[in-house]
Symmetry: C2
Subunit: 83 residues, 2 copies
């Protein structure tokens, strides 16, 4: 069974996020002073072939550890959409 998934990878609180800080510093000048707390992470979309949802989640968690994320600096959130 093919599962479509989205893996969100964000820098942990306290870890600096230069891209988010740069966006945030431009906001008042562009007239978006009501926007704050900008943090830029990754949204990785992918498909995984697994027998069931639990299996798909397990494999994606392994993939994050092996390749996609740095567990010291980043938090990972896996969202599955059955297909």
């Amino acid at each position: 069974m093919i599962f479509e998934a989205m893996v969100e990878i964000r820098t942990r609180p306290g870890i600096s996020d230069p891209e988010g800080a740069t966006i945030e510093s431009a906001l008042p000048r562009l007239g978006f002073g009501e926007v704050s707390g900008v943090r830029v992470g990754k949204a990785i979309r992918l498909s995984v072939d697994a027998p069931d949802e639990a299996g798909a989640r397990r494999r994606l968690a392994s993939l994050c550890d092996a390749l996609l994320a740095n567990p010291v600096m980043e938090d990972v959130e896996i969202t599955l959409m059955a297909d």
Copy 2:
């Protein structure tokens, strides 16, 4: 009212995604042959102060047009979590 939001920015289908392609080419070697269709986008978390949900959405859509996304190459999805 403060709304927490997540803005997902992905390259449109047909637009090349070198980072996704690089990840995908490494998958079989790492033992993840069951994973495919990797596309790497951005997940931007932010807070917006707006009178209601419709207003928050409108402001975030403007912000995407003005600063966050390139509408020629990228699709945007805005998800709001009331706070």
